[in-house]
């Protein structure tokens, strides 16, 4: 192969030349009430994901009928039914009003992770995003505890069963959302790093055996991608909503009076 032929191979076909582990790109920064606010690529991706989810919802719920329903309506009804049943079984009838929030986090997480298949950063590989969702869960847990136990009951809960446990209880209270956020972030971000390493390694291997186009990166990573992108994305979204539901409903009284 001549050097002229080598020159003709486009840059994007030669495979990654370096591997970097970085956060999201900051597109611009503005001031809000004296705070420096970063506008990152994550937000743009979130908007794309939101547009896809809402567009899909809008598309699926056109021409809803009681009888003789379309395939689209079947999908919409199955989705609503499945998530409603999940919330009812996990949290109880009292929490059925909570279903749309669970659906929101589930869809946002799944689509936010799967968007990485388009070659961009996954929304869920930005720790701030997971921290936000975990913080919402934390606020809802605290709100539920205060709602059903009163402020006194909530504060007393930290000294349970003996006052010595206070630091440990505070730690476990904070650990809940932190662990949730880190678990989800770690799985998705870690998966993307592993996939990056695989692509980089296979490209290097291809170059080592004097292939100008890294042919080895075709096909082989797809198998790993099935786990790190599809299965892991789904599992993490599911785990996150399950933990949210369990923690929040456990914060309230156990007995579920019929709603």
């Amino acid at each position: 192969m001549t050097s002229a032929a080598m020159m003709m191979i486009p840059k994007f076909l030669t495979g990654p030349e370096e591997l970097t582990v970085e956060g999201p790109k900051v597109l611009f920064t503005f001031n809000l009430l004296g705070l420096k606010i970063n506008f990152t690529e994550t937000i743009i991706l979130e908007w794309i994901v939101m547009a896809v989810i809402l567009g899909l919802s809008y598309f699926l719920t056109r021409n809803l009928k009681v009888k003789g329903i379309s395939k689209r309506q079947v999908i919409a009804e199955m989705a609503v039914d499945a998530i409603t049943n999940l919330v009812r079984d996990t949290m109880g009838k009292r929490w059925l009003w909570f279903t749309p929030y669970i659906a929101t986090i589930f869809c946002f997480s799944i689509f936010g992770s799967l968007i990485s298949l388009l070659g961009v950063r996954a929304v869920t590989s930005d720790f701030s995003v997971l921290l936000t969702w975990a913080a919402i869960t934390f606020i809802l847990i605290t709100w539920t505890k205060i709602k059903y136990g009163g402020v006194g009951g909530y504060l007393k809960g930290f000294a349970d069963p003996i006052p010595v446990m206070l630091p440990i209880n505070i730690l476990s209270e904070v650990a809940t959302p932190t662990a949730m956020a880190l678990r989800h972030f770690g799985n998705i971000a870690g998966g993307s790093i592993i996939m990056g390493l695989v692509y980089y390694g296979l490209a290097s291997l291809s170059h080592m055996i004097h292939l100008q186009v890294p042919v080895l990166t075709v096909g082989i990573p797809a198998v790993l991608s099935l786990y790190f992108d599809l299965f892991s994305d789904f599992m993490q979204a599911f785990i996150f909503i399950m933990l949210t539901m369990v923690f929040i409903s456990n914060a309230g009284p156990a007995d579920d009076e019929p709603a």
């Binding site: 994550t42 937000i43 720790f127 921290l131 936000t132």
Partner: protein, 166 residues
């Protein structure tokens, strides 16, 4: 510029919070509200259909009971009519036979009476003829006029004796 891999960014948190809220409201409005509405409508329709079916079933049962009753009544009625008709026919035939018998007996009796009358008439005619004949014979024998009364008495005596001999 790029953020750190594990950075916590206030801007991202605020935007994500808003986006999550917007997506929550959007999903609620575009997916859950219409689908739940249609599911409730379908449930109502199903309930209505079940109710209608239940009503129809109870109506059908009532009608069946009614018809069974009517059928039984009709059978009983027809059996009664048949019995009645048979009895009447029997009665009528008995009457006819009895009437025929009595008529036949009447005719027989009439014939007997007629015969009797004929016999009587013939007897009396014979008697007067014989008496005339006897008178004639007697005149010839005695050659004298017999008293009419004695005459009649003699004739009767004669006839009686003749009748006895017969």
């Amino acid at each position: 510029m790029k953020l750190g891999f594990l950075s916590i960014d206030l801007g991202t948190i605020l935007f994500t919070l808003c986006n999550t809220l917007i997506l929550f409201l959007g999903l609620k409005h575009f997916l859950f509200k219409p689908v739940q509405k249609i599911l409730e409508e379908r449930q109502a329709a199903v309930d209505q259909t079940m109710q209608d079916a239940e009503d129809a079933r109870s109506r059908a049962e009532a009608a069946e009971t009614e018809y069974t009753e009517k059928l039984a009544n009709a059978k009983e009625e027809s059996a009664a009519m048949l019995r009645n008709a048979t009895r009447k026919a029997q009665q009528r035939s008995d009457e006819i036979v009895a009437q025929a018998k009595s008529e036949a007996a009447g005719i027989l009796q009439q014939n007997r009476d007629e015969l009797e009358r004929e016999r009587r008439r013939a007897e009396s005619a014979l008697r007067s003829e014989v008496s005339g004949l006897a008178v004639m014979v007697a005149e010839k024998v005695v050659e004298r006029e017999i008293n009419q009364d004695d005459h009649a008495r003699l004739i009767d005596e004669f006839i009686d004796s003749v009748g006895d001999v017969q």
